[in-house]
Amino acid sequence: MTSLAPSSTVVTTTSLAQPVEAVEHGHGDFRMFGLLLFLVADGMTFAGFFAAYLTFRAVNPLPPGSNYELELLLPSLNTVLLVVSSFTFHRGGKQLLAGNRSGCRPWLLLTAALGSAFLAGQMVEYFSLPFGLTENLFASTFYALTGFHGLHVTLGVICILVVWFQTRDQGRVTASEPFGLEAAELYWHFVDVIWLVLFGLLYVL
């Protein structure tokens, strides 16, 4: 019953030198790759929102007199904060990889602070806007987009704080096991890039 087809020579076996455990646990670390795929998916969610926003804008007229000249000063400031935070995160990451854990931690805190400042700025903007969520189509889209992005920033800040905690002396994130930090950093850059697109679409366009 177990006889193979004539050309069973094509079936070879890997060298037995590799113990079972090594094969199982020895495979490379694909977590960054997995995260990257997840970010592609997440990016597609935003892409869907952007497409909806652009179509609404092109096709659906707003009621007369609805104001949608947005204040530019605060959001621009926010943009600067977020872009700067990407650089501070990067600095921190470099410190960690260089083996300097204590040098890395302040940068992480600074990044988290910048992120929080962004969120605070966002809240200030929300409260000063003349329109509410259900005011009109633009208002709803505006809040949906910035809100969804704000959720991402919040999650990012939490991740940064967790990483910050894990870079303490007994922490799990080290120069030889930097996954937590690298993942948080990649995610943070992603959130940053999304904001730039969003800023361009909502405020500049």
């Binding site: 087809a5 004539p6 804008r57 092109a58 096709v59 659906n60 007229p61 707003l62 009621p63 007369p64």
Partner: protein, 313 residues
């Protein structure tokens, strides 16, 4: 084994193609045709049916032949031939479907053109008369949709935009459409769809009716808008369907060719009574249509529509 296989294949192929064409010519799967684009549609159907038959019978024939011819006989544990591929063959069966599909695409484009599906969408708001269409054109040219006032502010329950037949009130708006082959003398009818009924309004004679009455041979232009949810206007005998969308007027026109009564079916799920949302379109001879207008017109019937009606043939 005296007849070469290639000859058998050739003969079988020809029988298949001719048989497919014959079947396509002789199928009768569609309801009667009652509009000017129904025969065009049926011609397309025949072509699609022929191609489909040829492909399907061909593939099925090959499949069944292989299953019978190459079935494993009891006790045989051997293998088939080790053929891993054949580039010329694979190119052949990439090319054939590509050509077929290209042909079908171009042909159906032509059909669609003949049915009036390629008419620019915003070019035929002429239903409110020339004045309003000029106005619309002018507004359109400003192009800034964001600056334009909304068209359906009032929401469900109001249809002032829809039923405004005074050209002065016409709002600049985007009209979407499906099929449109109407010339300038089309009979304008406004269709309002709601859960769960179609209401027809004749702006020329101010008639409002739950059934659509049209004269045979004259183009009819329907301007459709829904009050609540999406519905769809479908007359199987006209081979025409168009969604009726809230907040987004659509237009469609057709020319009935066969007097009779045909069902109008709502084809888009619109709630529990979606299945019951049906009415009729009655295609009259010209005189009967005029009689219907006279009987149903409110106190002061407008005769503009009748005066403008073309002679029917």
């Amino acid at each position: 084994m005296t007849i070469p296989t290639s000859l058998i294949t050739l003969v079988l192929g020809m029988v298949l193609v001719l048989g497919g064409l014959w079947v396509g010519q002789n199928v009768n799967l569609l309801p009667v045709d009652a509009s000017s684009n129904a025969p065009v549609y049926d011609a397309l159907f025949q072509v699609l049916f022929s191609i489909g038959t040829i492909l399907f019978v061909g593939v099925t024939g090959l499949l069944i032949f292989s299953l019978v011819r190459f079935r494993r006989l009891p006790g045989d544990q051997g293998d088939g031939v080790a053929i891993e591929g054949n580039l010329p063959l694979e190119i052949l069966w990439t090319a054939i479907p590509a050509v077929v599909v290209l042909f079908v695409g171009i042909y159906s484009y032509d059909i669609y053109e003949r049915m009036g599906g390629m008419t620019p969408l915003n070019g035929h708001e002429a239903m409110h008369g020339d004045a309003s269409s000029l106005m619309l054109a002018e507004h359109q040219s400003h192009g800034d949709a964001m600056a334009a006032p909304a068209l359906l502010r009032e929401g469900p329950g109001s249809s002032s935009t829809l039923l405004a037949d005074d050209p002065g009130e016409a709002q600049p708006e985007r009209v979407w459409g499906g099929i449109s082959s109407a010339a300038g003398d089309a009979l304008p009818v406004e269709l309002t769809a709601m859960q769960f009924a179609f209401i027809f309004h004749y702006p020329d004679s101010s008639i409002t009716s739950g059934e659509l009455h049209v004269p045979v041979g004259r183009p009819v232009q329907l301007r459709m808008e829904a009050r609540d949810v999406i519905h769809a206007f479908w007359v199987p005998q006209f081979r025409l369907k168009q969604d009726v969308i809230p907040g987004q007027p659509t237009v469609m026109s057709f020319t009935p060719t066969r007097p009779g009564t045909y069902p109008i079916v709502c084809a888009e799920l619109c709630g529990p009574y979606h299945g019951g949302m049906r009415t009729n379109v009655v295609v009259h001879e010209q005189e009967a249509f005029e009689a219907w207008i006279r009987q149903n017109a409110p106190a002061a019937p407008s005769t503009v529509a009748l005066a403008a009606a073309p002679p029917t043939g």
